[in-house]
């Protein structure tokens, strides 16, 4: 009997407690489910809300909030340009959304563009992605070429063209560029019996990458122990490719990577560098490459303006005054960005005005002064911030003048959506093997072509 009453009691307790328990369980499920849905919805709603909703009622003070989506330390905020614009335009408030790496930023931007939500009012785009943007997504972007205050003549022709579609719609305004020079170690050059003055060094190889190769062979004859002439064959290849009239696409936008003269030239020269043993067999932006700056294991490297800060960072105090910058055999462009305004944004006009202001020569000069991002607006080269710029770490090299000259010599080169993929495979599965494993250039070329063909086949 005691057993039964125990059962009964249990049953009673169970029963009286269940409604509440069930309510709790239901509430938990409901909360989870709504959380789930909200989680999905938020992704698309929230940023749109912050940008679109900012049309006129943002903040309740009649302020327009403009959002700027960038990757990495883009520099606009760091250089104080937002603050300055806000001071001059009291009705505007600028907010920046930054994603650390472009590899994450770009795919997200693509999906946001195709869904028309989650976009910032202004979106930055790296030069490696701009061709894909102008090629397939230009309909979703505002034509900035017609914005008031934008002067086409102030920009470098090739940069303007990169941000413009075939039918003449300018969807991206250039911020910075990366015209290349050659950074070289004066001390190593002296020991190897080469000239050290930047003008004379530039003359060594002016106009021809083959002369750069010859200089490397000369360097090797008397090379200081444990040093090589260049960092790696892949770096040389990229530099030659950037300086040609044609790379992987022709002017019609057709893929020509297999028989483009420019591609072949870069491949051959880089392979000769590897086979002559002039490289330190390094791959750029790897820890071993960074270490090599500190150890001084190579004498030259292709360098755009932004590389100077990188070298200073990696070579440290020991490298001060050892490096200098000479003109490249032929200048190319390495890096740089654009600003775009998506059609789906809420305050397109205000956003376009801000882009026009941010990319105007005066602001680009300020950005160069504070952040060493080299201006894409030719008109900025005569401004004192650029004209008189000197780099103390590089022995007071007049970097502004050197790179301005390089920028004007950068060829107008057709770029395409798959440039990044092709050049990475050409290096990673091709030239790297020649440099590091001693694969024969022909075999490596075939391998790289096979990988590229597979990668481009949809």
């Amino acid at each position: 009997m005691a057993g039964t009453s125990g059962l009964q009691e249990d049953a009673m307790r169970y029963r009286t407690r269940t409604p509440r328990r069930r309510a709790v369980a239901l509430a938990a499920v409901a909360a989870l489910a709504t959380g789930l849905l909200a989680g999905c919805a938020e992704d698309s709603d929230e940023p749109g809300g912050s940008s679109g909703g900012g049309g006129g009622d943002g903040g309740g003070k009649g302020k327009t909030t403009l959002t700027v989506g960038v990757f990495g330390a883009f520099g606009l905020q760091e250089a104080g340009l937002y603050d300055e614009y806000e001071r001059n335009n009291p009705g505007i408030e600028i907010k920046q959304n930054s994603v650390q790496r472009n590899e994450n930023y770009w795919p997200a931007l693509l999906t946001h563009l195709s869904s028309g939500s989650g976009l910032s009012d202004i979106q930055a785009v790296e030069v490696g992605n701009i061709a894909e943007l102008t090629g397939t997504h230009s309909a979703k972007l505002v034509d900035l070429g017609r914005t008031q205050g934008v002067d086409k003549g102030a920009y470098l022709g090739w940069k303007w063209q990169q941000g413009t579609t075939k039918d003449g719609k300018t969807v991206g305004l250039g911020t910075d560029i990366g015209p290349t020079g050659i950074c070289y170690r004066k001390d190593l050059f002296e020991k190897a019996g080469l000239p050290t003055d930047r003008e004379e060094v530039g003359k060594l190889w002016a106009g021809d990458w083959k002369k750069y190769l010859e200089a490397g062979k000369r360097y090797k004859q008397k090379a200081p122990e444990g040093t090589a002439f260049v960092d790696g064959a892949t770096g040389v290849m990229a530099a030659v490719h950037a300086s040609g009239k044609e790379k992987f696409y022709d002017a019609e936008g057709e893929l020509v990577y297999k028989d483009s003269a420019g591609v072949k030239e870069g491949w051959d020269i880089a392979a000769q560098f590897a086979e002559a043993g002039l490289t330190a067999k390094l791959q750029q932006f790897q820890p071993s490459w960074d270490q090599a700056f500190a150890n001084g294991s190579f004498a030259t490297v292709t360098c755009p303006p932004w590389m100077l800060g990188y070298i200073k960072d990696k070579a440290g105090d020991k490298g001060e005054d050892q490096w200098d910058v000479a003109a490249a055999p032929r200048p190319g462009n390495w890096g740089g960005s654009f600003l775009t305004v998506p059609e789906a944004g809420g305050s397109k006009e205000e956003a376009a005005k801000l882009v026009a202001w941010l990319t105007a020569p005066e602001q680009q000069a300020k950005l160069f002064d504070k952040r060493a991002s080299f201006p894409s607006a030719e008109a900025a080269y005569d401004l004192p911030e650029v004209k008189n710029a000197k780099n103390p770490y590089f022995g007071d090299t007049p970097v502004g003048k050197i790179f301005a000259r390089a920028a004007e010599g950068v060829p107008v080169q057709p770029i395409g959506p798959k440039d990044g993929i092709i050049s990475q495979y050409l290096a990673d599965t091709g030239m790297l093997g020649v440099d590091q494993k001693g694969t024969s250039p022909d075999k490596a070329w075939d391998k790289a072509m096979k990988t590229i063909d597979n990668a481009l086949d949809q």
Binding site: Q8, T18, L36, C40, L110, I421, T429, K437
Partner: protein
Amino acid sequence: MTDIPSDTRTAAPSAGEEGAARRARAAVSPADPAAERRRARRSRRYRRDVRWSPYVLIAPFFLFFLAFGLFPLLYTGWASLHRVELGTPTDMEWVGLRNFSRLLDDDFFWNALRNTFTIGVISTVPQLLMALGLAHLLNYRLRGSMFFRVAILTPYATSVAAATLVFVLMFSRTDHGMINWGLGLVGIDAVDWQNGDWTAQFAVSAIVIWRWTGYNALIYLAAMQAIPKDLYESAALDGASRWQQFRHVTVPSLRPTILFTCVVSTIGATQLFGEPLLFSQGASPTGGSDHQFQTLGLYLYEQGWFNQHLGRASAIAWTMFLILVLIGLLNWVISRRIRRNA
């Protein structure tokens, strides 16, 4: 045996017990229609509760599974039948089974499959053997056994990225790499770990072994502690050495556990991704300049997120899924045979 009835009692009182309770109460107040109705309502509610509450309680998992498991799985299957690019994911063009059929003569796919298999073998076999040995050692009465047990689990708790970074430095091509430095001490020339076919696969396997041995050892240890002591005592009485005890008592008792770890490790090996990705210079998805350590997971990533072909990547994902289903079936057959033999 004794606690089983009490378990069922607390878990779900049967209808018979409920009926008994009602009868007992009915005897107290013979005729009260309102109370009777109330009781009936309560009883209905109670029955509904017993019936549906379990579903409600497991619902959160299944909701999440639906959203983040089943839906992506089905959508991937749908995408694998189309030409879809990452840049324009809404633009789908039906291609039927082409994305699958092209895998048959895709050298890169077969290469990745081969690599996945060899890396899987070189990493799983030593890993499980070492885990078994470690567990056996830890099963002895040891001073500070807790410390050792936690210590062998730390690699498991380390992030792949951090661990791989350290291994990349250790397997560095130059003489600065710790392993080459060690080889140099015994007079062996520096090895270019990353660029050799086998050396690269060995290096990637080393990371996997390092990370997962402790985890498997703990699973084995838990199973070992469940083996009754008297088995060992009687084995010892029969004059079995420690090694014989290990072979004839420990290993047979661990059979289901060993099978479990084999299956889990095989699944892990099939999906291997982070280690080979981060092991290559610059986190390139090619797995070395000859694709020498590109696994299926890495090839999938390369096709989807680097080459931007979501359709092709989805087909690889589904192929991997089918391979895992095959492995699961194999496991089921083997475990059935083991059970029958036992």
